[in-house]
């Protein structure tokens, strides 16, 4: 039974990593569509989100079935709990990729706003954090996972820069208001992607070390003076 259970856990983890690969692909395509304002690629991303949703439902059902069937305790229960959360977080990253793609479809009808270099940087950074959080999951690499958590502030800073730049552009040129608001939305989506990558990384730490650090970050944030999100 133990060996069978172990194989089931491995299969489930492989399935979750497959979702991870689909989500990374969706994010890549969404970022590329955003960069080139390409509505065709964007529509593919929107379409493809259904597959991610289906896989998420499957992984969740199997996770709960394994918990009921094998009554795991300690490490194995922690492993399955973490898989459940990561599954949910990856699906949400997919949702944000879809949101960005939907914005691109709309943005393609408006004036192009040049010179928001931080927007590319926030995309690259969020993408990197998703990649690293999945690598940390594959290898059970706690150090890498903790590094991802530390990178979250970079994204918050970039988002503030983008907010400052785009609101200034809107004030200068009223015709840019609508596309600038959409770009702000895309930046916000990417900030959320980075947050979710951080969640995944925290769950990797929990999986390996058994320490629930997820809400500690919120507590640390709450203890700081309030610095509201840029948008």
């Amino acid at each position: 039974v133990a060996r069978h259970f172990q194989r089931e856990l491995d299969d489930l983890k492989a399935k979750l990593l497959h979702i991870g690969a689909l989500v990374e692909e969706a994010l890549d395509h969404a970022l590329s569509a955003l960069h080139r304002l390409d509505p065709v690629t964007a529509r593919d991303v929107v379409e493809g989100d259904r597959r991610i949703d289906q896989f998420e439902v499957e992984v969740e059902e199997e996770c709960l079935k394994l918990i009921a069937l094998y009554q795991p305790v300690a490490g194995d229960l922690r492993f399955l709990t973490a898989l459940l959360k990561i599954n949910n977080d990856l699906e949400r990253v997919g949702d944000h990729a879809k949101n960005i793609a939907e914005r691109v479809v709309k943005l393609a009808e408006h004036a192009r706003i040049e010179g928001a270099p931080s927007l590319n940087r926030i995309g690259t950074q969020a993408r990197k954090m998703v990649r690293e959080s999945l690598d940390a999951l594959v290898r059970g690499d706690v150090e890498l996972a903790k590094q991802v958590c530390a990178e979250d502030d970079i994204v918050d800073d970039l988002n503030r820069e983008i907010f400052g730049y785009l609101t200034r552009r809107m004030q200068e040129e009223p015709s840019l208001v609508v596309p600038a608001v959409m770009l702000l939305g895309a930046a916000k989506d990417l900030e959320r992607v980075a947050d979710l990558a951080t969640n995944v990384a925290e769950d990797v730490v929990y999986m390996v070390e058994g320490d629930n650090i997820r809400h500690n970050r919120d507590r640390a944030r709450a203890a700081r003076p309030a610095t509201p999100p840029a948008s």
Copy 2:
């Protein structure tokens, strides 16, 4: 054992409803702070989110423990699965209430934008849907749950109105750009709250009827011509 298990399920549901009550309170206070641009109430909401997070972690742990301990099948497993999802969704509603409150703290430093009546309406509507989804959960009321799902379009329409109004105001008065962007963000948060209330309602249907309708909505949406979100 069966009677003991039933009592544990009842206790867990009561705990989840307690989270629901905390989340409703947070949302009420966030909306009231937004209406009056009151940073003091807003800071209380930000502070209070930690309690919601703590309860969420507890409910999740107990849920998984019950699954491992009693190996429920069919209806009982479905009930616990639904509780897990609703728990997660309610915590996210709490996060959005916190986001709105953080925006209020920042908004209080800017010029007040009058005449966005749809913003109050979207708040009232999102609030109503949270209330109804929790009522549907308490009573296992599938009809009410389905009604909540049908109301989601109202919120999307209101959000489009708000988007049109606020982008017009920004074009007319550049000094309103920053506060208007923040109000757009608050409207977006309320749209997400309504989405999450819809998720809760879908899980109530699943709990009672065993039909997983959650991603059906996404599929129905994907089948329609792409109508990207306003912001």
